[in-house]
C-alpha cells in the first residue's frame, strides 16, 4: 500500500534535496519505525545515563566538582526530555516509551550497564563516553528528520561542556599523586573498550545501517565514526600520559589513521542481551523512581484539575 503512496515521491524528493522531513509529511512505515526505535533508545540512554554519574554526586571530591556533576546530570535529564518530545512527533506516546523501557522491551546504550567504581570513572564518562556520543551526535545534526536534527543541535552545544569537564578530571588526576594517576589509568583501562563498542557492530555485520544511510538518518558508518573517535582520542591520552589498553594500537602513516585491536564482540552482545554488570540494577532503579514519583504526578494532576474545575 505504502509503496505507491503519492507522498512517496515527495518524501524521496525531500531526501534528495537535503531537505528535512517534518512530522506532518508522509513517510514510509520503515522510516518512522526506525526513527522511533532510534530516538526512543537515545532518550532512554540519556535518562539511564544519569544513574552511573548520579552515583558520585554525594561523593564528589570538592564542592566545585559536585556543582559541575549536578549540572551535567541535570543536562542528561534535559536531553532525554528533548528526545522524548522528538519521538512523540512520530506518533508514540511518552507513556508507551516509559512502559516499554520498564518492561525491558526498549533498550538503551549498553555503556550504561558498566559500573562507576571510582571518581576517575566520572572523568572517563565525560571524556570518553560523551566524546564518543558527540562524534555520533554531530553526525546526527544532519539527520533527515527535522525534530531529531534540531534536538541534536541543542544537545551537541551542551555536550561539549560534558566532555571538557571529564577531560579536566582526568588531567587533574593524571598530574596528581601516584594513587590518583593509578586511578586515572584504571579508569581508562575499563572504559576504553566499552567506549569503542558504543559505535555498534562492524559495518560488515551491521545490516540495517545501509537502509539508515539511504534514508539519511545516519550520515556515516559505525566503523568510520569509531575510527574518527580513536584518531581524536589517542593523542589526548598521550597528553595525559596515560596508556591506551590496546597492544595493537599504532599510527598507520599510510592510512593516516590509527590501527587498533579487535573488539571483544562477545562481551558486546552479552551486555546488549542483558547480561552486563549493571543491566538489572539500572532498570530496577528506574522503575522504583517512577513508582515512588507516582504520588507527585497524581498530586500535580489533582491540583491542576481542581483549579480548572474539572474532575481529576
Amino acid at each position: 500500500m505504502t509503496e505507491h503512496h503519492p507522498g512517496r515521491h515527495r518524501f524521496e524528493a525531500l531526501l534528495a534535496a537535503e531537505e528535512k522531513v517534518e512530522p506532518a509529511d508522509w513517510m514510509p512505515d520503515g522510516y518512522r519505525q526506525t526513527l522511533i526505535r532510534q530516538i526512543a533508545q537515545h532518550a532512554h540512554s540519556e535518562v539511564i545515563g544519569m544513574q552511573p554519574e548520579g552515583n558520585w554526586i554525594s561523593r564528589a571530591p570538592t564542592l566545585k566538582r559536585k556543582a559541575i556533576l549536578m549540572a551535567k546530570v541535570q543536562d542528561e535529564a534535559g536531553h532525554g526530555l528533548y528526545l522524548y518530545s522528538a519521538a512523540e512527533t512520530l506518533g508514540i506516546t511518552r507513556d508507551e516509551m516509559m512502559r516499554l523501557l520498564h518492561e525491558g522491551r526498549h533498550k538503551y546504550s549498553s555503556i550504561f550497564n558498566y559500573p562507576t567504581l571510582s571518581w576517575a570513572d566520572i572523568g572517563c564518562i565525560g571524556w570518553l563516553v560523551d566524546g564518543a556520543a558527540i562524534t555520533n551526535q554531530v553526525m546526527l545534526t544532519r539527520c533527515s528528520y527535522g525534530p531529531y536534527a534540531r534536538g541534536m543541535v541543542r544537545i551537541c552545544q551542551e555536550e561539549s561542556f560534558h566532555q571538557r569537564q571529564g577531560f579536566e578530571i582526568m588531567s587533574t588526576l593524571s598530574r596528581g599523586a601516584p594513587a590518583q594517576r593509578e586511578m586515572a589509568q584504571d579508569g581508562l583501562n575499563r572504559w576504553w573498550w566499552p567506549s569503542l563498542m558504543m559505535f555498534g557492530p562492524p559495518d560488515s555485520e551491521s545490516t540495517h545501517s545501509r537502509q539508515s544511510m539511504e534514508w539519511k538518518i545516519k550520515r556515516a558508518s559505525n566503523d568510520e565514526l569509531r575510527q574518527q573517535f580513536v584518531d581524536m582520542t589517542v593523542p589526548q591520552a598521550e597528553y595525559l600520559g596515560l596508556a591506551v589498553p590496546d597492544p595493537d594500537l599504532s599510527w598507520n602513516a599510510e592510512r593516516g589513521h590509527y590501527d587498533f585491536g579487535e573488539i571483544d564482540w562477545e562481551e558486546f552482545w552479552a551486555v546488549v542481551r542483558g547480561n552486563g554488570p549493571m543491566n538489572r540494577e539500572r532498570i530496577a532503579h528506574k522503575r522504583a523512581a517512577w513508582e515512588e514519583g507516582t504520588w507527585v504526578r497524581e498530586a500535580a494532576s489533582a491540583y491542576a484539575a481542581r483549579r480548572t474545575g474539572k474532575a481529576a
Binding site: 532510534q38 540519556e46 507513556d95 546504550s109 555520533n136 541543542r154 484539575a305
Partner: protein, 116 residues
Amino acid sequence: MSYSVPRLAEERDTDFMPQGEGRFSGWSLWEVFIRQRRGMSHVHAGSLHAPDAEMALQSARDVYTRRGEGISLWVVRSSDITASDASDADSLFEPTGDKPYREATFYQVPAEVKWL
C-alpha cells in the same frame, strides 16, 4: 551508532510502532517559546508535558533555559495551535513565487541616482 542498540534476532518491530496505549498521566503537551533578549520575538524552543500552565512554565524554565537562553517564556497548549496543512503549501505559498515585483531587487536603479 552510539546511543542506538543493535538489533537482536528476538526483537519485535511492533515494540517501536505506536500502539496508542496510555497517556502521560493525562498531562497535555505544551509548546515552549523563548525570547532571547529584549527587542527580539519569542522563538519556538521545544515542547513538554505538564498538568497546567503554571507547571508548564516551571518545567520550561528547567528544561529549556539552563544557560541564559532567554529572558521571557511563553507556554502554549499544543492543541490550541492551528497549523496550515503541509499539503496546502503549494496553493498557499506558491503564488508569491511569480510576483517578483514585490521585491526591491526587481527594480533597476540608475547608477548615478543615490539614496534609493
